[in-house]
Amino acid sequence: MEKLPESLVALARLAASPNARRAQVRRAERIWADLRRRMIRSGGFAAALILALLLWGLIIGPIGTTTLVLTTLLGAIIMFALLFWPASKAPARLKAADPRTLPAHAELWLDTQRKALPAPAKTQLDTISDQLATLQAQLDAAPPPAETARDLDRLLKNHLPELVERYTRVPTTQRSAEIETSLTDGLNIVQKELSRTSESLSETDRDGVLIQRRFLESRYSKS
């Protein structure tokens, strides 16, 4: 594929759908959170090391220059290691995910699959991950009815991963137009089902607003 000029890339990023932008923001947030965790861990280790050296010097006796240099070196190595190891692990298998955090989990998993999918599927993935984020917020706010939870479980643990995995198993050279449209059609259905679930979860809340308006009208606007 021909490489796009820099300005066009910027333009494309600007033109990216709000879904894509939000997905990017969430991805950046995840990376940042990971980085922060690593820095805190590594910084914590450094502080502990310095404290230990100080206490040793005060209580037990002076540390020689050699020990100091060696400890500093070793400490730096360990700090460095703590920054980069262990590598951010890909999300654990979806099947084992806790139903309460399943949407967030599924979003992470989809992110890892992103590279293997064709361009039209990627925009769909943005929409889906946006829907998953909304769903996660909804699940956090209130536990879903048992049946909805079961349906969601089936969709996110079985049906969606199966679709994506079956597609990625097909050798690149054999991914015909029909295979690709089958994938995007499938993702479309998933998308519809997710928005249906999300809407049904917040139905009571949406109705609540309408009801409250009706109530206020009948209560306060006396003819």
Partner: protein, 399 residues
Amino acid sequence: MANPNMADGPPLKLDPPAAVAAVAPAAAAGLVPLAPKQTTELDKRVETFVTELIAQDAASPEFGKKVDQLTNLGAREIAEAAGQSNRFLDRPVRAMDKDTGIGTDLTALRTQIEDLDPSRKGNLFSRKKLLGLIPFGGNKLRGYFDSYQSAQSNISAILSRLKDGKDELLHDNAAIEQERAKLWEAMGKLEQMVHVSRTLDKRLEETAADLDPSDPAKAKAIRESALFQVRQRSQDLLTQLAVSVQGYLALDLVKKNNVELLKGVDRASTTTVAALRTAVTVSQALTNQKLVLDQITALNATTAGIIDATGELLKSNTARIHEQAASATIPMETLQRAFQNIYETMDAVDSFKLKALDAMKTTVTGLSDQVEKSRAYIARAEGQAQAKLESPPPFEALS
């Protein structure tokens, strides 16, 4: 003014709405009107479907697939409407069960009012007597009016609770309105699917007749498979539509009941406040002592226009009471009349509630029967839908 009584509007009449009769499936269709634009669009889709169907060979898998699609005709619309039937059945049942606390408050108000009723106090114009024998202290009248002072905080608390109860009823009605709006939408969709199934029925029948001479095998296949499916689905759709219509009417019944009850509560509050105000005036006229009922007056200021109207009535009556004060019995009669008004209101509410409960029970029984029936249909339809999951429904209601 011809009427010397306080707060006498027209006598309170609360009409319990009649119970909702069962809706026969055959009569259910056509209640929600379809826009001509919708019918033309749906007819067009039916036409396309039939054309595609007869283009296939009767023995081909494509023909079978098309027929299979018909088993899902309206499945989503039915499922949606059925999902609501739980809720609309729930509401009248709850309305019957809880009695909203308004009943309790009205009873409490009645007890308080009976305590103050002058007609239960014997001769108030006699003097107080020690041990019933020796004349002692002032007359009974003064003591009687003093009892208002101690009762007023109770009464105002009850009236304020009644106001909360009224708000609850209003909120209930707002929720019912919302539910009815959604039910109406679901019924519109069912109606569309009924239209589709009827048009399909007609078109398939005609097509089969046309094909009889040229291709009897296909005509037979259309009659035995496609037409059979369509007719079965028509029955399911009509059954669900009948239940939804009945639920829609039942919700209206609950709402109307609430409105009547609201009227009753309003009137009970108004007549009570009116009686207390009358007592203030009468006390002034008879004992020359100002009876101060701050809490009731304060309540009055916050209560809406209905009570203001009573206030007007009272003002015009006050002058007359003072004129009549010369003969002490007439103001007392006025006060008794004011109490009578409260009793009448409360009796009207009580008898209304009895009748309303009856109508509600009949409605709920009828509705549960229908819902039960429709559930059986839906269970069967679900089974078919599960078996034919791979074929999406050929038609969907337009939004």
